[in-house]
């Protein structure tokens, strides 16, 4: 089983699904249409020729200034053949929604919660999409590129009075 064989199967079974495909250091990368992601994932897992039964890793990416702004990257492995495939799904800024793959590979559960927590990508059909790293009452998504890097102005002797005046010090 090589990459062209996999790509031929995908294009034959789901002709609309693959938007682009290329190869990097022997690994296949496929950009998938958002609507077909779930079907394509099921095909990858259930087809006896493919047998991609293990989701290694899932992560969200923020390409600020590019369209679509967000991208979710799935690295899937076939334990039987050792073959890898990388799936990419784009999500625009005004509608950052991607179908959840929790029903296909259960690994996706916590990883999708992380991508939701840090980047604000909403995974439709996730059983319990809530924050996983940040506190529950946190506002915003800190890994977005337009989130400010620093948190508080650094205090020196010339500006510490102004900063400490409105810093919330704990009382007894």
């Amino acid at each position: 089983m090589d990459n062209t064989y996999i790509l031929d199967i995908l294009r034959a079974r789901l002709p609309q699904a693959t938007l682009a495909a290329d190869e990097f250091r022997g690994d296949l990368r496929v950009t998938v249409r958002r609507e077909d992601l779930l079907d394509l994932a099921r095909l990858l897992r259930d087809d006896p020729d493919l047998g991609f039964n293990y989701l290694e890793n899932l992560c969200g990416v923020d390409y600020l200034g590019r369209e679509p702004r967000f991208e979710v990257v799935y690295n899937v492995l076939s334990l039987a053949s050792g073959q890898r495939i990388c799936l990419k799904v784009g999500a625009p800024e005004d509608d950052p929604r991607v179908p959840s793959l929790t029903g296909v590979w259960p690994t996706a559960n916590y990883h999708e919660r992380e991508a939701y927590d840090l980047l604000g990508i909403v995974f439709d059909g996730h059983p319990a999409l809530s924050r996983i790293l940040m506190p529950d009452d946190w506002v915003g998504h800190p890994l977005r590129k337009d989130h400010p890097l620093g948190d508080e102005e650094v205090a020196f002797t010339f500006n510490q009075d102004r900063i400490y005046a409105h810093k919330p010090f704990a009382k007894k």
Partner: protein, 174 residues
Amino acid sequence: MGIEEKAGDMGVVTTSLEAMVNWGRTNAMWPLLFGLACCAIEMMSAQGANYDLSRFGMELNRASPRQADLMIVAGRVSRKMAPVLRRLYDQMPDPKWVIAMGDCAACGGVFNNYAIVQGVDEVVPVDVYFAGCPPRPEALIDGIMMLHAKVRREKITGKKEDAIVLQQPLVQVK
């Protein structure tokens, strides 16, 4: 050995209640078993054989806040950890003291970002700050000695002194 020798055959020692109470508080000040980051490693080695914090009656780290007098905030406090830290502080019985160990606990250190509380004094009132990243065990012992001296100066009225900062800034910016 001890006080009965020094008192000779009088059998009586006179002192003030303040001095007596503060003597008791300083010589059995039990820290809470609570480490957050790499400073906790230095805290552990301060209690190990080489530095031997038990010389000052502090060998006993209590795993329960109900039995602890001193909270050593050893490391950076994340925003998610802050409510837990405050809860542990609230569970400690009075009188209680807090040491902000190292740069991160004192002011956020190098972590000026969304995830880290910029100084643990936003969450709990701090008695002694000391710098270092991480501070050496000697610095921790120095800070604890400073706290002991502060506790010995405490009045029976219970009014607390201001916090002590243990290192002058290297550069004064005008």
